[in-house]
């Protein structure tokens, strides 16, 4: 980020164990314990869903699991809240088009 400061440096996080996930096929670095949304943000990616009606790009908004704007398809499974889901090595995140066939029941 700007200058020499970064969130990880601020809290003295260990960044040695970084691993790779992919977003629409391209590699993205994630840290252990980071959510999928955070790893994408850190790579400068802000959108990973297109809306059902307008086809507009969306990503994380509320950051705490309340808004469902951050729904992503992870390893083929749609409608997962990227802000809550911890990234795991090798996770394949793909842009979710529309409702990616809905699975939740409300």
């Amino acid at each position: 980020m700007a200058r020499d400061r970064s969130p990880a440096a601020l809290v003295g996080a260990a960044t040695d164990d970084a691993f790779e996930i992919t977003f629409d096929g391209r590699p993205v670095t994630a840290l252990p314990g980071q959510s999928v949304a955070a790893a994408l943000w850190a790579a400068g990616i802000l959108a990973w869903r297109s809306t059902r009606v307008g086809g507009r790009p969306r990503g994380a908004f509320c950051g705490i699991g309340q808004c469902y704007d951050c729904l992503a398809t992870v390893n083929g499974r749609p409608n997962r809240r990227a802000c809550l889901l911890p990234a795991r090595p090798g996770d394949a995140i793909t842009t979710q088009e529309g409702h990616g066939h809905a699975e939740l029941g409300v």
Binding site: R5, L31, L46, I64, Y68, N79
Partner: protein, 542 residues
């Protein structure tokens, strides 16, 4: 002042849970006071041993309540959706991130560390990753409650859990109030608290140049953290006027510690060259696929934008929020009485010792009215004491503990402070003038302000519920959490300027039948007489 600081997939109605074709009845887990999950038990079958107390929410309020009650001899289960204790205020990196200085993003870390030590020493069963979707009276045990939860980081793992307890403490906190404006759905526009949460828990920033906007004391805390973590914050844009504080000196000066905290944020912001623009709002976000700049306009006393006052600020993200709304679904589902707050939201009506109007159901922290982490701590402790006294049938204070009387005095002071602040930052009636007809108000269902105005003007909708039925605004995944405040306000404005100029109308207390989306398998396993579909709690409002 940090603290002071689917189409519903399947189509649906806002009430009836939809069928999920492939959801088979699921096995569940039940937990006894030993914290052991009974793998073999079928969900909804006879409960295992019951706890004295189930605490929902492991933020400052829930932690203080759980630890206090446990130290006084109660068996306690503490459930939280999140993987880690701390709630919103004490969100911190997962241990896997190996942070050696987690306190760098927090004031008051020692108080939390002390609470975690007490939690470890006490025999509290901490059930992380448990998303509670309903609390019902136990069908086969008079006076007991069944707390039903979905499990996993996302709440979509296949093993729901159930905890039975004699008393329940609701400490579910709050979520951010959002007021829409043109461009607020562009990627890069994020909740102010959301940006804070993503930073504190996962060390991620939404951009390198982040404008912070909205209203309320949280904005200063968010700006200070973002700047400390390396983002440039070109401006903090506050819609109200800090002069409002000068008109309420009593309640504010009674809390020197809180004012000192505000001064710390102020100093940090100065050091990072952050400009505070009061009585201003972001009235337009620019960019095609992501944020490139925002327009900041001056506001008049009613929060109407002053024509010609717009200034463009280049940025790649905007963190925005207008204060907090107590999270009440579980309480409203139980029929707990609510009250209106000074800034037009709803909170639980509580007795002197934190009990709700439903005997055996208690609440602490933001559920009883937004007031910051110190108030949450105080209320949690008071509730813990009171629940222990009730279940043990005698007074339990003493031995170095703060007495209920001391805690109640502290609560009154902190509450007065919070109310004074809430009044200063309450949305002005003119904010809908930020909207143009194309602005999406409901993010989930993509319903524009124009369609809502049409429902109001042409079809006579006068309240949020009717607007929702006509337009689907508020029917999506988030169940109206993001747009509810705005929709209610737009509907009420149709009732004429006098009504709309008064206290901001908020949606009536959240009557979401389920606190989190639930798959049919879990619902089907609920014991019939108390399933959310059949129980008809009657929330009342004083």
């Amino acid at each position: 002042m940090p603290n002071s600081a689917s189409e519903a997939p399947g189509g649906g109605a806002d009430s009836a849970p939809e069928a999920v074709p492939d959801a088979a009845p699921e096995d569940g887990a039940e937990y006894g006071p030993e914290g052991r999950a009974d793998d073999g038990a079928a969900y909804g079958a006879e409960c295992g041993p019951e706890y004295d107390l189930a605490v929902i929410g492991a933020g400052p309020a829930g932690l203080a309540g759980a630890v206090t009650a446990s130290e006084l001899g109660l068996s306690v289960a503490l459930l939280d959706a999140s993987g880690q204790p701390g709630g919103q205020y004490y969100r911190h990196p997962s241990p896997a991130l190996g942070a050696t200085r987690p306190e760098a993003l927090h004031h008051n870390w020692p108080a939390f560390a002390a609470l975690l030590r007490r939690l470890a020493a006490a025999e509290v069963t901490h059930l992380a990753g448990h998303h509670v979707w309903t609390v019902v009276a136990a069908p086969d045990a008079a006076g007991s409650w069944d707390v039903h939860a979905l499990t996993g980081a996302n709440g979509d793992e296949d093993r729901p859990g159930r905890v039975r307890a004699r008393a329940v403490l609701l400490a579910t906190g709050a979520y951010e109030r959002q007021l829409p404006f043109p461009g607020w759905t562009l990627p890069g526009v994020v909740g102010a608290g959301g940006a804070q949460a993503m930073l504190k828990s996962a060390l991620a920033l939404p951009g390198r140049r982040v404008v912070v906007a909205g209203s309320g004391p949280l904005l200063l805390a968010v700006a200070a953290s973002l700047a400390a973590a390396g983002a440039r914050v070109p401006a903090v844009v506050e819609a109200s006027d800090y002069l409002g504080y000068a008109r309420r000196p009593g309640a504010l000066l009674s809390q020197p510690a809180k004012l000192a905290e505000a001064a710390v944020h102020g100093a940090a912001l100065l050091r990072h060259g952050v400009r505070l623009r009061t009585r201003s709002a972001v009235t337009q976000v620019h960019g095609s696929d992501r944020v490139e700049a925002v327009t900041v306009s001056r506001l008049d006393r009613q929060w109407r934008p002053v024509r010609g006052s717009g200034r463009r600020i280049a940025c790649d993200a905007l963190a925005v929020g207008h204060g907090l709304v107590p999270q009440l679904e579980l309480a409203v589902g139980l029929g707990c009485t609510t009250r209106r707050t000074v800034d037009g939201t709803h909170a639980l009506e509580l007795g002197p010792l934190q009990e709700t109007s439903v005997p055996g159901i208690w609440a602490a922290g933001e559920t009883g009215g937004v007031g910051g982490f110190q108030l949450a701590f105080t209320e949690g402790e008071l509730a813990g004491l009171a629940i222990a006294a009730r279940l043990r049938g005698r007074a339990v204070a003493g031995e170095g503990r703060r007495s209920p009387r001391v805690l109640r005095r502290r609560r009154a002071r902190l509450r007065a402070f919070a109310d004074a602040m809430a009044a200063v930052h309450a949305p002005g009636p003119g904010w809908p003038q930020w909207l143009d007809d194309a602005t999406e108000v409901c993010r989930c269902e993509e319903v524009t302000a124009g369609r809502i105005r049409e429902a109001v003007a042409d079809y006579g909708a006068r309240d949020a519920r009717t607007v929702k039925l006509l337009t689907r605004a508020g029917m999506g995944w988030c169940q109206g959490r993001m747009c509810g405040a705005a929709v209610a306000c737009l509907a009420a404005q149709a009732q004429g300027p006098r009504r709309a100029q008064g206290a901001q109308p908020e949606p009536s207390p959240e009557r979401r039948p389920l606190a989190v989306p639930v798959r049919l398998g879990a619902l089907a396993a609920l014991d019939e007489p108390n399933s959310p579909g059949t129980a008809e709690p009657k929330p009342t409002e004083r």
